[in-house]
Symmetry: C2
Subunit: 198 residues, 2 copies
């Protein structure tokens, strides 16, 4: 992973680093999801958290009488998705990605172990999906994992594989933007999994 | 958080740092749980992962043509538990702690937001519990969150509160040690939540 240079003394996590890359268009998708999850938590609707970014720690310094300082560390790829939790008694698991592309979502943005993880939890009874934002249209789609699989199987043959934008329009669900639940993906979960209420 | 000094160039995570503290008695509980989860995953029994340790990143260096290096970072407290996942269609969430104490488990080892998290997920339908090892006896107990609550409420009045060892013997479940599922906590989940099979 590489990030733009010039990033200094920002006591934040990877999400902020990523956000710097998009700073000219306000909040990025990850921050919108975090705000949404906070709202869900505070209103006792669901308990869904972002997992911390895994860091490989190589060197730690232990000053006397103060906190340990990591002096050498590297960003690692996660072996799972970034988000999971519980809603209405069901295990929820999803990955979040944003693209500037106008016509397709490149599947190279999803790592193989993330997709394996999403399939595995689906087989164990999870609600698992992708949240994909097409930033040029400011449209954010909910796409169930079983709808991703036909493309994913082709991707295993051809690493440049992608999902066309119009597939999201046809088989995905446009997530409504709300003031507090900025990316109100649970409204889609309700339609699909709890049509008669929770 | 403070760790013993002298730790250098070990390209591992916090679990290894912690493990260094216990190196004279083999694997620690966290490593046993990780081995167990790996076995559950490989045998397709459950998908349960440890969350990465949250790190506050203060400084990142971006060398040309190589990976970004974190040059200043600090260990943070997690706002949730370390472990969650899915088993038999149910959301699972737990915290893991080890004590050298012979007569009690000090509740100061569990942070307030962790306990709030465990109660919240319980209210949403999770299977949530503590796994506590009394290392002097080499006994590892499974204790459901609702069994912790009477002590937790006292702890909010008195921060030195603890749960007596014999309470674990009476109201907890001794987790069997197995060769591959080293801390086979799902065998206890089966007894308590799926008595007639999954």
């Amino acid at each position: 992973m590489k990030y733009p240079s010039g990033f200094k003394r920002n006591p934040q996590s990877l999400s902020s680093i990523k956000n710097n890359m998009y700073s000219n268009r306000g909040m990025n998708l990850e921050e919108d999801i975090n705000v949404t999850n906070k709202y869900y938590l505070e209103t006792n609707r669901a308990v869904i958290h972002k997992k911390p970014t895994p860091i490989q720690i190589v060197n730690v310094h232990y000053p006397k009488r103060s906190a340990a300082v990591i002096t050498e560390g590297y960003f690692q790829r996660s072996s799972t998705t970034d988000y999971n939790g519980i809603y209405n008694g069901k295990y929820i698991d999803f990955e979040v990605k944003e693209t500037k592309n106008k016509t397709l979502f490149p599947l190279a943005n999803i790592h193989e172990h993330q997709m394996e993880h999403l399939q595995a939890v689906l087989n164990h009874g999870a609600i698992s999906f992708l949240i994909i934002r097409f930033s040029v249209y400011n449209e954010t789609y909910f796409l169930e994992i079983d709808k991703v699989l036909p493309y994913w199987e082709q991707k295993l043959q051809n690493s440049k594989m992608s999902i066309p934008y119009n597939y999201f329009q046809k088989h995905g669900y446009l997530i409504p933007f709300k003031y507090q639940a900025r990316v109100d993906y649970l409204s889609i979960v309700d339609q699909l999994y709890f049509p008669n209420g929770g």
